[in-house]
């Protein structure tokens, strides 16, 4: 299919265009284009986890139960202060060790446990493939940006006019109903601008996936742009990495533009039926 298309291009446009078409549609490049799925997966899963952690974190911070309030505050302050790169490196490895530790308690004999070797026995060995690294990297992103989201959501909940909640109470709604149907329902208008910022940061942080040995768009750009002087390995060319990185710039800018559109739409939707300034 691609072969036929390449032939058509070189016959009908020019020989050179055909060669370039072939180059940009070879298996290596197709693998590069396909690796976008890792970036998008990490962004979407990361965002879902971040919103979940955000709501839980914000709820914890408003809790009437003091230890929960401290936990929420610790999470938002501490995790926001940890560099995302560091956390993406730390979390999957720490989690792997924890799982291996838990398995080893039941799977290994007492003698093996006492030997001090790590992991104590083969049965406790957990091999991580790309899929597992990807899930854990996405969850790491979610945890880091969830702390930012928690802060945004906490602030947004406080911005819901007190009068709304008081009227709700006066009408006889229960506390739970007030929280979900009034406070959470109305806070999105105040939270969305902040959340859109968090989303942008998260989107940019997906470029760290290659740190976990995931063959994402950055790793492939690196491989494709690397100078090649061995004809059997493909087109012989000098260092082209900057060109490939430039394509990634454009890709991320495109994602930003699309995201902004979506957030504008969400903002309009969240503001429906609310008499507010700045949320038209």
């Amino acid at each position: 299919m691609l072969e036929t298309l390449a032939n058509w291009v070189s016959l009908n446009i020019s020989e050179e265009a055909g060669t370039w078409f072939q180059y940009f549609s070879n298996g290596k490049h197709l693998a590069w284009y396909a690796s976008v799925r890792y970036t998008l997966f990490a962004a979407v899963v990361g965002a879902i986890v971040a919103v979940l952690f955000g709501v839980i974190g914000a709820a914890a911070r408003r809790s009437g139960f003091a230890p929960l309030r401290w936990l929420g505050l610790t999470y938002t302050t501490m995790v926001r202060g940890i560099p995302d790169v560091l956390f993406i490196l730390f979390f999957p490895l720490a989690f792997e060790q924890l799982v291996e530790f838990v398995i080893s308690r039941s799977a290994c004999t007492a003698a093996e446990l006492a030997s001090g070797a790590w992991p104590p026995c083969d049965a406790a060995q957990w091999y991580l493939s790309t899929t597992e690294y990807l899930i854990m990297a996405s969850v790491s992103l979610g945890i880091v940006y969830g702390a930012f989201a928690a802060n945004v959501i906490h602030g947004a909940m406080n911005s819901v006019p007190k009068g709304q909640l008081e009227s709700a109470r006066a009408f006889g709604f229960t506390n739970r109903q007030i929280f979900w149907n009034f406070q959470v329902r109305q806070m999105w208008v105040y939270a969305l601008p902040g959340l859109s910022n968090v989303w942008m940061l998260l989107l940019k942080a997906t470029s760290f996936l290659s740190l976990m040995q995931i063959a994402d768009i950055v790793l492939w750009a690196d491989r494709l742009g690397a100078p090649n002087y061995f004809a059997r390995a493909g087109l012989v060319h000098p260092d082209w990495r900057w060109k490939y990185y430039f394509v990634l710039f454009l890709f991320y800018i495109l994602l930003t533009v699309i995201s902004e559109r979506i957030f504008e739409w969400l903002q309009r939707r969240a503001g429906r039926g609310m008499a507010l300034h700045g949320a038209d």
Binding site: N26, G27, K28, L30, A31, V99, I103, A107, P119, D122, A123, A124, Q125, W126, Y127, L128, T131, E132, I135, Q213, A215, D222, R223, A226, P227, N228, Y229, F230, A231, R232, A233, G234, L235, V236, P238, D239, R241
Partner: protein
Amino acid sequence: MNKIITGLALGAMLGAGSSFAADVRIGTEGAYAPWNFLDDSGKLAGYEIDLGNELCKRAELECEWVINEWDSIIPNLLAGNYDVIMAGMSVTDERKETIDFSADYYPPDPSKYAGSPDVDVDWENPKGLKIGAQGATIHAAYLEDNFSDGNTILTYETPDQSVADLMAGNIDLLLADNSFLAPVIEGSGGAVSFVGPEVAIGGGVAMGLRKGDAELAKKLETALEEMKADGSVDKLLMEYFELEPTYGE
């Protein structure tokens, strides 16, 4: 998505040893032509890939390739991420302390310097040079031992980066395997060439295995001997490196 999570949970519960179909996993770098690299179709290719696949076939093992960065290739072997290293790794005494090696499948190869043809080096007493090598290699160790006084040594994560920096003129010299540099110099169109003396560091290139993994070592060793004896290793060496018959009768 649900499937992935179930798979993850199952993998975690069973300990993943049982969740892989392959008998043996081979770790390689995938960025070291002509030894191991990604070809145009995006698949692993190269001398070690052909050799490894044939070894597995003869030893009747189901093998799977794993790409791993060079600088963590030994730690990840020890961690069990794969069982064999085939990544142009030279046998050295230092490495023998942590891992076992098979017999070599590439004879001891001199290392060489690549640089601009008109680079001026006082080889008796080198000073003020910027010399590069890939990190965690025998070359990096050699530079550290011999050039650390009065010269700047730069190490790179991947071979590609070291070549890119040499071509960009950021380093005066690059020390690497002859087998790796030869195609680079040939393809550079005269921009760089071999300069200075050859240096003999390290033994031949061999498979790296975990210590005490005797059963696997024996299987692969037997297959390698067989391939050396019937000339198939020599044939591959000719194909990828234009090397004269080395191991045949």
